[in-house]
Homo-oligomer: 331 residues x 2
DNA sequence: CTGAAAGCGCTTACAG
DNA sequence: CTGAAAGCGCTTACAG
């Protein structure tokens, strides 16, 4: 069974292919009677225009690609959802390219994306300059950086240094020992360095208030549910309360919380705890945390894309969003 | 700056477009000298074939679409990763279509997918028959159902009834009161009913052992980190230990665990607890759970797709995978 | 408002 | 092994 083409629609409507094309593309220059007739036939036949053909014939693509480093986290779920919402309102289709393995990064960048026929591309959380020292620029069309920054591209990101600073300022007036749990970031990782920025801001605030953070109070772990508990075990075993712990992800904070409770330490009193991200787990368990305006970032990213699509030659624009502390019981 | 076309390559190589095309498509019928020359020019120019044009000219698409109901969970992260791994080995590109809002389901099915130019389509966790009573079949090409079943399509899924049954059998020899925490499933939701199947199997095992489950011992909640704790609170307040709790997701199980510890109930003794999914949180916190062979499901799904791509007319094939209990400290 | 026609960048028999 | 040519399903000036 052959697919239905514009030719079939034209024949049954008694008009030319050109007219059908005009109807499909919403041209004003079609008699409303004709349009109605054509639309009827389209409906009856179940005709869908072949997108590949439209594009090779010079029509605009209406898909937008999004590259993200992972799925399976609340952060990207929320980000993607807010972006898709806005994209759909303008009839764009979203195509997701998750880079689920480090090895795939070059394949996604050099192969999948150039072939994707997207009108534009969002690149999320990657450090594009580091990426393009090893990769050829993969995509000629409009590119918007989300959750990262480069002077060469439109971009929107959240001020991680400020996030860390806010927590540091809060902690600098507290009694007791101060600890940080973070993820180790490698220079060659290709990711926008969020943890290091948070750390920088945190340390800056402490220094401003005459406090310093011993190197041994910085705990680096991988990213997992148990990491926070392991770190907490280490902290509780080798130091004395009260503890002030900045867990740079709610995941970590949660592990700390659990370990503390097992030991009878009171969260909010013996242990002051601040997480990061305001994930549902922080809301559910009363963890003070740093909220990132994820949805706002997604929406404004789409705005940047639309502007760029309209005026490809316009000057590069960059937006920086502010995080804020959400006070709960844990600190 | 105009994109480089096959014409440019042909001209600079001193051959015809046809020959360049043969080189691109790996045809054997090209003199190796000619091929070398053409390849050089391609490299030098940085030429990339226009995929849209290839497809409209009758070439095969090498992208595969995957529709999933959500991102942000470990289940889909693992599933997608295992599928992409196999797809990439055969030079296919994966395009993800998450359906992040219920309203978008029809748009994704009727618009995005038909336009996606995919050679084949995976549909994950949706109840396709219920879907297609309201939607026209969106996609003519090879379709493989993953994590759901229909006699009309190739499919692979995990035996949820068995999963529930295994837990039920384990619980039927235990002293104390038995409770279930699950998600309420609505008939019109369009999702493959996994919780109901688990419940069915669970109840069956209890009945076989002469036990019954009072209706009030079934606790339905939405899907969140706090739901398990809320359910546990309800259970602990209104019943007496020992408790046997089947939390049909590790997320729920985790909430139960925390609430129990806050009350000084000993997990594994006062509270026997079984989760579902073997997520990292279950591994990290010692929760007995039902492991689903997610990666195996992903890989075999891709096998089904390849078979179907090769022989579009072959008989429909259906695979059912078995879950198993992972024993840990909690039960 | 509409049709005829050229063109988009490819692929693929066909003939040699 | 290769070129010339027809064709894929569309779009878009152009002319009327």
């Amino acid at each position: 069974m052959k697919p239905i083409t514009i030719e079939d629609v034209a024949r049954l409507s008694g008009v030319s292919r050109g007219t059908v094309s005009r109807v499909i593309n919403g041209s004003q220059n079609v008699n409303s009677e004709t349009r109605k007739k054509v639309l009827e036939v389209i409906e009856k036949l179940g005709y869908r225009p072949n997108q590949s053909a439209r594009r090779t014939a010079g029509g605009r693509s209406s898909t937008i690609g999004i590259v993200i480093p992972m799925i399976g986290t609340e952060f990207y779920e929320r980000l993607i959802k807010s972006m898709e919402e806005k994209l759909r309102a303008q009839w764009y289709t979203m195509m997701l390219f998750p880079v689920l393995k480090r090895d795939w990064l070059s394949k996604v960048m050099m192969h999948d994306i150039p072939n994707s026929d997207a009108a534009g591309m969002f690149l999320c959380s990657f450090d594009i300059e580091r990426l393009f020292s090893s990769f050829r620029k993969p995509f000629e069309g409009p590119t918007v950086l989300v959750d990262s920054y480069s002077p060469l591209y439109d971009s929107i990101y959240i001020d991680n240094e400020l996030g860390g600073y806010l927590v540091g300022r809060k902690f600098s007036h507290l009694e007791g020992s101060t600890h940080v749990i973070m993820m180790q970031e490698y220079i060659d990782s290709g990711f926008w360095p969020v943890f290091n920025s948070r750390f920088k801001g945190f340390q800056k605030a402490l220094l401003e208030n005459g406090k310093s953070l011993p190197h041994r109070n910085v705990h680096s772990y991988d990213f997992s549910w148990s990491a926070g508990a392991l770190a907490a075990r280490d902290i509780f075993d080798n130091d004395r309360p009260p503890f002030n712990i900045f867990a740079m992800s709610d995941l970590y904070a949660f592990g700390v919380m659990r370990e503390a409770q097992l030991r009878g330490l009171r969260i909010g009193r013996d242990v002051k705890l601040v997480g990061y991200d305001d994930q549902s787990v922080a809301r559910d368990w009363g963890i003070t945390t740093v909220r990132q305006p994820i949805e706002e970032m997604g929406e404004k990213a789409v705005d940047l894309m639309f502007k760029r699509l309209e005026r490809p030659g316009k000057e590069v624009e960059s937006l920086c969003l502010k995080p804020e502390i959400v006070e709960r019981e844990s600190a």
